[in-house]
């Protein structure tokens, strides 16, 4: 039996994003105000999209506008970014993967599977369910965490981690 509810995963994901940027790139920021949104607008940037299955189902997206993505990748690799190149994809995927792995407690724990990131350039994404989008303000620019998750009513808690990290 499932409930159509969105667990409060966006805040832990935003804080995980800030931890990753702070630790790996010495980049600082703060989360903005979450808003309900049915679609993730990728715009001119790139989104790393993770599918969830098991006790929590849905989608998590980490969406970087192009300017922010390029600045962050420059920090991560020390190289001039080549938007859309394989090395650029690798860096975006790794940063997004570390963000999501750092918030596993909040997105279902060990009974939830999390896919590898799928990168989406431009356009928009529709999860088919209401989602929450939270901006993350950083020195490199603003990027967005998008969650559209439903959880099983039978899931007692989400306090243990598991899966890929």
């Amino acid at each position: 039996m499932t409930q159509s509810v969105t667990p409060p995963a966006h805040t832990p994901l935003a804080h995980s994003a800030l931890r990753v940027l702070d630790a790996m790139l010495q980049e600082h920021g703060e989360p903005g105000v979450p808003e309900v949104c049915d679609r993730l607008e990728v715009g001119d940037g790139v989104a790393a999209v993770f599918e969830l299955w098991g006790s929590a189902n849905g989608i998590v997206g980490v969406c970087f506008p192009r300017d922010a993505a390029e600045h962050i990748i420059q920090l991560a690799t020390g190289q001039p970014p080549a938007f859309g190149a394989p090395s650029f994809d690798d860096a975006i995927a790794e940063i997004a993967d570390t963000i999501v792995a750092g918030a596993r407690d909040a997105i279902g724990g060990p009974d939830t599977g999390v896919s590898r990131p799928r990168l989406v350039y431009e356009g928009s994404l529709d999860a088919g369910a209401p989602g929450v989008c939270v901006p993350v303000w950083t020195e490199s620019g603003t990027f967005f965490i998008w969650t559209a998750i439903t959880v099983s009513a039978a899931t007692p808690d989400n306090t243990t981690t598991g899966g890929r990290a």
Binding site: R19, V20, D22, A23, M24, Q26, A76, T77, G78, S87, D90, A91, A93, E94, I95, D97, T98, A101, G102, R104, P110, T160, T161, G162, G163, R164, A165
Partner: protein, 122 residues
């Protein structure tokens, strides 16, 4: 000291290598998955292994590495802080479990300590 660095992300390998350089860990073999890492272990002597804990078959790779060298320090880098995962990593033979994300200083300190330990044993 010959180091094997195993991570499927080229970006992460680059970040880790930049942290290793000041520690004079400049003899580095890179592998992006477990089979490539095992081939590297079989091809040459390895003094230190740094393994991405999120890699497919990461714990099996640790066991294989440990089977080949009982004393080599093995550092696992992983975002999973679950007690079960850490326990399993240690049981497989991980010497040091470093939680992602890490600052350069933290990883450097962990590497420094395992290098010191390995050097004092030699």
């Amino acid at each position: 000291m010959r180091t094997l660095l195993v991570d499927d992300s080229r970006t992460m390998r680059g970040i880790i290598r930049s942290i290793m350089t000041p520690l004079r860990l400049d003899e580095v073999e890179e592998a992006e998955d477990a089979p490539e890492a095992i081939a590297a272990l079989d091809a040459t002597t390895t003094d230190l292994a740094i393994i991405d804990g999120g890699l497919d078959g990461a714990l099996d790779l640790v066991r294989e590495a440990r089977r080949r060298n009982a004393h080599m320090p093995i550092v696992m880098l992983c975002a999973d802080t679950g007690a079960d995962r850490i326990r399993a990593a240690r049981a497989a033979g991980v010497t040091r479990y470093v939680v992602k994300p890490f600052t350069p200083d933290i990883l450097s300190q962990h590497l420094d300590e395992v290098i010191d330990g390995a050097t004092s044993r030699a």
